[in-house]
Amino acid sequence: MRLEAIANPSWSRRLGFPLIALAATVALGSLLAMLAGADPFATLGLIVKGAAGSRFALLETLNRATPLIFTGLAVAVAFRAKLWNIGAEAQLYAGAVMAVLLGTGALPWPSGLLLPAMAGAAMLAGALVLLGPALLKVRFGVDEVVTTLLFNFVVLLLVSMLLEGPLKDPAGMGWPQSARLTPEARLPRIVDGLRLHWGFALALISAVLVWLIQTRSTLGYEMRAVGLNRQAAEFAGIPVGRVVLKTALLSGGLAALAGFSEVAGLKGNLTLDISPGFGYTGIIVAMLALLNPLGVVITAIFVAGVFVGADSMSRAAGVPSYIANIMLATALLNMVLAIQLSRFRVRWG
């Protein structure tokens, strides 16, 4: 078989294939539910209800979406410039550590000063974590996929070391967890009484800012050019290496904000399980959004909904909650295939 580019794909093609991909994902989910001995329609219904069936469920979904928006943005920014940052997990933890370092009483500042300082320090730490692999890529041509993946393990062990050493909460009964943040260092709720913190608003603002950078700035133009064709970008006089490094700083900083927002907004302290793979899930979020920063907000809420819904369904119907991970990984694969099929015609023989 052979792929043949379509000059102007029709709307039916561009919408049809992604819809089929989505339907196939839902069909697989039903099949898995049946495999687990549950009624597929009831299972899917329970997932939807658990994700958006009540005000509590919806807020839970938005809370879960917050770190995913950040990591999704981090991946979207990097992948657009063909910088394969698979290390959002490590950058997230770097941001979380900075939030703890500054937010547990080290700086006696009021909230208005302290929170921006924490966010800034978090972004800096995350940016530095990705700068390493980016420099290795630019200077020595070391593939950043493997280095960022390996760094995830290094950083997680480093955090574990900190939590059992200098950052360990003396009042933590021996658990490897940090001390709690001071009240000044906590992100307040957006509306009193609603369990949704300012991290979510910050995520929305970040998405708009990233969109502005990508579509309205020289850097955004250069990042796209480098991603589309490195040689052509170089030929056009774009400093490719420097653009890759700038992309890395932005991407790492965004991922670190996920850690900052989880610690200062949701959890109030740092533990080793603060991220159940938000960094990796960010890849699914970004790809489903076709690397569009505004789309990331929508797909992050969708992906968060699947996770929250599956957790609640699992408690009620007994289908293992890993069904969410299977469905989302399938959605990722289905969707990249669907996008390809909407742009290319398959010729057999």
């Binding site: 078989m1 052979r2 792929l3 898995l32 495999l35 687990a36 394969w84 698979i86 290795l136 020595f140 041509g141 070391v142 593939d143 996929v145 493997v146 280095t147 993946l149 390996l150 760094f151 393990f153 290094v154 062990l157 480093l158 574990s160 070391m161 059992e164 050493g165 990796y280 890849i283 699914i284 790809m287 007994g318 293992p320 890993y322 069904i323 991970n325 299977i326 989302l328 990984a329 399938t330 990722l332 694969l333 990249v336 295939l337 390809q340 099929l341």
Partner: protein, 315 residues
């Protein structure tokens, strides 16, 4: 110093080195075959999880050990088929598909585990492969114990390296496989199927990765834990680079890596280990892999068509 010498001179240390190297050898050979054919397989981490689970589950539900290995290999080949279909004829991003396969294979294994054993807290055990001393050879001092008192799967790992080298460098199939990773157009011009060769390579490679995973549950340990693969797949990708895409050098890399890994485990139990946080020791393998990548990446021996999809008729 005396302690370090003690470690290095003990036969059990070298036996551990070979044991730790075994799963890496399987998976590294698998990845090497894929990459030699021009396909980067980032599904490796998840395929190892799937192999570890499938092999163990097969034996747990009453099958023989070798049947379990075959089941693991089959599971790996199935994910390999999915990977190959998406990346070879459809030419999708090998990065995205590979990571997707890792997420899918991992999630599918965990889902199946929870489905099969809904309420276990301690994972059940199986009767794993036992060491099989080779007569005469195992009686040799030091080397005998380290090399020839291993489980059958370990011997298989070393045989595999020889077979892969032989096929890759001494057969027409190997020539075609290497060519398809360097210059697929030339292979197509010879009338061979680029798609077929690449898909075959990814499937066989993925099968071997799964056997590497199965080694963990069926030979190194005797039960399945979540997160037991713990980055080994990613390390194997680094080992392929370290070995400059050659089976022999990759084997050397795997053994060298295993030596450091076994050494850090022993070092943790010494006086030095008691003073330093254990996480520092656990970090070493990952830092070493990064270092190896930096040193080796300067030599350009990458298959020329690695990660370049081939579409007949494109120029």
């Amino acid at each position: 110093m005396a302690e370090i010498l003690d470690i290095l001179l003990s036969a059990s240390f070298w036996a551990a080195v070979i044991r730790i190297a075994s799963p890496l050898i399987f998976a590294t050979m698998g990845e090497l075959i894929c990459e030699r054919a021009g396909v980067l397989n980032l599904g490796i981490e998840g395929i190892m999880v799937a192999g570890a689970f499938a092999g163990w589950m097969a034996v747990y539900s009453g099958m023989g050990l070798w049947t379990g290995v075959a089941v693991a290999m089959g599971a790996g080949m199935l994910f390999g088929l999915l990977h190959a279909t998406l990346t070879v004829p459809f030419g999708l991003s090998q990065h995205v598909v590979g990571l997707g396969i890792t997420l899918l294979a991992t999630a599918a294994s965990y889902f199946a585990y929870r489905l099969a054993l809904p309420r276990v807290t301690t994972p059940p055990r199986i009767e794993a492969f036992q060491p099989l001393p080779i007569p005469w050879l195992s009686d040799l001092p030091v080397v005998g114990h380290a090399l020839f008192t291993q489980t059958p799967l370990t011997y298989l790992a070393f045989v595999l390296v020889a077979v892969v080298s032989l096929v890759l460098y001494r057969t027409p199939l190997g020539l075609a496989l290497r060519a398809v990773g360097e210059n697929p157009s030339a292979v197509a011009a010879q009338g061979l199927s680029v798609t077929g060769l690449r898909m075959g390579a990814v499937m066989v490679g993925s099968g071997l990765m799964a056997v590497g995973g199965a080694f963990l549950t069926m030979s190194a340990f005797n039960s399945f834990f979540f997160e037991m693969v713990n980055g080994r797949g990613w390390i194997c990708i680094a080992l392929v680079v370290f070995g400059a895409w050659m089976p022999g050098k990759a084997l050397l890399g795997a053994v060298l890596f295993a030596t450091f890994d076994a050494f850090q485990i022993r070092l943790q139990q010494t006086a030095l280990g008691a003073d330093l946080p254990y996480q520092l020791f656990l970090m070493l393998p990952f830092l070493l892999s990064i270092l190896a990548l930096v040193i080796m990446s300067r030599r350009a021996s990458v298959p020329a068509a690695l990660m370049v999809p081939f579409n007949r008729g494109d120029r």
